[in-house]
């Protein structure tokens, strides 16, 4: 099979694309963020295009390795009749970027659009708070060969959008999914609103079309709608009924020229795209792909990692940051940025571990205290009495004592019960107030018991 995607995501801006209304449409009563422009009242004309939206779109196009249209950019009017469209047409720009690439999937083009309002068929009302919010649309070539590949692509794309800092995430995603099987025509699926939805729609469509082809029934070119609740697709219209949008250049918006210095400025400031960063981490820090991906899952985490490795050995830092740090922020349901954990906190902690001032166990307990705390790991360690690794003799004495005091457990150990060793290690930890290295303790206990 071949699959191509058209993905719409809202751009992150304070105001709408062609007026000054706010974009926080979800936190405000219906039809509160509106004016004559985004309601398209008679006589209303668009204000000049929101610069921040244009810049964001350019940045995303560049991060997707697109060529930037050197010529002028302008908006077209795409006419169609629907209750949520207050002007009867949607303003959609000609491509801003084209011929890009994301992990081997070719990006055909990137352009801007304005979001329509939200129609609620059950009440017959429209909320125009969303009307005029800038969208970016990313169109791929049909380069994905399976639902899994499409899902992987979408995950990666969302990561790029998050990195850019100029787009809202998967929550605002709307996608059109194109699929064609060998021997069949191209089918377009509309109304896909999540990565999971795209995957399920493709799965369903693949099975449906395969069955048709098997029975010798023709797969015709058509547009289908994805019903999220049922995870199925249903026919919307055939090719012959395809809408004619009667595109014309919008006479109210004179063409804009993207200037070279602006593009250059964005290029200099834009973050390295995550898929490229992942590869670089693998090469530069000799990390496994899995680990590199975890560390680049969030731009701030990746940046912090690169700061940390200036002081701490890369593999050791990676181990702690991808396992322990990720575990803690995941447990707190935060992003790394929200955890407010700083580079210097991490460096100090890892340094203490390296210098064997604290045990692994103590390190884990300290890292749990770090989210949204301005305290240094050292002061946390001191407060909790976690500083210091007891020397071998102390561990040896503690181990001897533990064996002496627990003859039944020792018996169990000799009979091969695994839990017995864990119990004895626990005893040693207790006696040393958690400062013994667990690995070393096991070794000492084994020696004593053999």
């Amino acid at each position: 099979m071949k699959c191509g995607l058209e993905i719409h995501v809202q751009l992150e801006t304070d105001s709408k694309l062609f007026c000054d209304c706010r974009t926080n449409y979800q936190d405000t009563p219906a039809n509160n963020n509106v004016c004559h422009v985004c309601l398209n009242q008679p006589g209303a004309k668009p204000y000049p295009t929101n610069e921040k939206a244009l810049e964001g779109a350019l940045k995303i196009a560049l991060m997707l390795d697109c060529k930037i249209a050197k010529e002028i950019t302008y908006f077209m009017r795409k006419h169609y009749n629907y209750p949520d469209l207050s002007s009867g047409y949607q303003r959609t720009s000609i491509p801003i970027g084209y011929e890009g690439d994301l992990n081997g999937v070719r990006i055909r083009e990137v352009h801007m659009e304005e979001d329509p309002g939200q129609y609620k068929p059950d009440t017959g009302t429209v909320d125009f708070n969303r009307s005029g919010i800038p969208l970016i649309e990313i169109v791929t070539e049909p380069d994905m060969k399976s639902p899994e590949e499409a899902r992987k692509f979408l995950k990666e794309l969302i990561r790029v959008l998050e990195y850019s800092g100029n787009a809202r995430g998967e929550g605002t995603m709307r996608a059109d999914v194109n699929i064609s099987l060998e021997g069949g025509k191209r089918v377009e699926i509309k109304n896909v609103n999540s990565i999971k939805g795209a995957y399920k729609a493709l799965k369903f469509e693949m099975v449906r079309q395969k069955n048709l082809l098997k029975r010798g029934v023709e797969v015709t070119q058509e547009t289908r709608a994805f019903l999220e609740a049922q995870m199925i697709t249903v026919s919307m219209r055939l090719k012959e009924e395809a809408e004619d949008y009667r595109y014309i250049p919008d006479p109210d918006l004179p063409p804009m020229k993207s200037d070279d210095s602006q593009v250059q400025g964005i290029k200099e400031k834009m973050p390295e795209p995550p898929h490229i960063k992942t590869k670089r981490f693998m090469d530069e820090y000799h990390l496994a792909e899995e680990h590199a991906k975890v560390l680049t899952s969030e731009l701030e985490l990746a940046d912090t990692y690169e700061e940390v490795v200036k002081e701490i050995e890369a593999e050791f830092a990676a181990l702690w940051m991808r396992d322990e740090l990720k575990r803690v922020i995941y447990y707190n349901k935060m992003t790394f940025m929200e955890s407010e954990i700083t580079t210097s906190q991490i460096i100090e902690l890892l340094q203490m571990l390296k210098d064997k001032e604290i045990t692994t166990k103590a390190g884990q307990r300290i890292i749990e205290q770090l989210p949204q705390s301005s305290k240094s790991p050292r002061s946390i360690a001191e407060e909790m009495g976690l500083v210091g690794i007891v020397n071998e003799d102390e561990v040896l004495n503690a181990a001897k004592k533990a064996i002496e005091e627990n003859p039944t457990t020792v018996e169990d150990y000799h009979q091969g019960k695994k839990a017995a060793m864990n119990f004895l290690v626990g005893q040693v930890m207790k006696l040393t107030r958690g400062k013994a290295e667990p690995g070393n303790t096991v070794k000492i206990l084994r020696d004593l018991l053999s």
Partner: protein, 460 residues
Amino acid sequence: MNILEKSELIKNQEFTARENVERFSEIIEKKNPQINAFLEINKEQAQKKALEIDERLKNGEEVGKLAGLVIGIKSNINVEDFTISAASPTLENYLGSYDATVVKRIKAEDGIIIGMTNMDEFAAGSSTESSYYGPTNNPAAPGLIPGGSSGGSAAAIAAGMCDLALGSDTGGSIRNPASHCGVIGFKPTYGAVSRQGLLDLAMSLDQIGPFAGDTSGIALMLESIAGLDPQECTSMEWEVPPFSNLVGENAKETLKGMKLGIVKQFQEVTDRPIVKIIEKSIDQMQEMGAEVVELSFDYIDLCLPTYYLINYVELFSATRKYDGRKYGSKIEEVCGEEVLRRIHMGSYISQKEFSGKYYKKALQARSLIRKEVTRLLKDVDLLVGPTVPKLPHKVGSTLEPLEMYAYDVLTVMANLAGIPAGSLKAGEVKGVPVGLQMQGKPLEDAKIIQAMDAFENLNK
């Protein structure tokens, strides 16, 4: 007494704003039932505003340029709380929900808006007969059409119902009725005046402009409303000349050495009696020291088809919002036949399979016309000639669309090229006014105003 002089009287409290509103209200009450220039009047609000201005003057406070002057606005320009119907049943219940930029500026200059004027439905016409509210009568030639589409504004000035009025001009809709009603109408350079709040006919051609009984009124209104509007993308950043300082003084001198271009094709398409009057006017200007240059414009036949193709497509696009959901009626179900014809034509020629053949060709033709107009204007200051090639017909006569469109042949060029153009009365044919059109280079609006001022003085 011209408008500028009247404005001084009001500022000097020799004549009050209240008296001004009172007088016009009486005239409107008396004449409007026959003329039908105004569709809606708000006398109380006008009186209130007048009293406030008089009070401020009494207290020695500053007032704006248009203080106390009474103004009519075409019904396709948004004024809060007036019915902005565009003379169509589609919008008969639409109350202006915001002020157009020009209206904001008029209010800021203390102009008194008294009401909304009649027009062709959605400005798609040249006679004001297609108004849902019935035709407007021509005060200067009763029984004849006032021209259009801003026929109500032109008639209101001609009948002495207000000091100043605003119209919109897409292919002559200000200049045509100015010519037929014997008043002055001015279409500024495209982008010189903000269109924010103007209901669209053809967005790339529409321009708001003033009507007045004399050039000083045009100057005063233009300097009040012109200039960059940061919230309208086609509005231009330009230094607005102090138009009202340019009129009156040494008016006759300004024609000295001015180069006036006469385009022979403009004369050829025009009825003989009109040409005669125009030729006489040109002779007079020559006597005043103007130099006349004969020019040729080979694309005159291209102008109307180009204009109408663009007009159809842009009107089709602009009216998609009147889908019956927000403003009561779906436009196609209630509008008049000319608007419907244009919407259908626009829908037809903008189809994917035809747009290359028609719409894109029209846009190409337009660039060609622009280039040619630039060439025409290269070595002259102004083009002068007739505004309308024929005299107005009787209200209610049946005309084929093409006969109707022929009224616009001399005016559409200015819109296609985006240049400024004005029309003022040159004379009469059997008592029916005939307009002289002056067209200039982009943003040289002042030159036209000065020349109109000179011509006006010459006929005094």
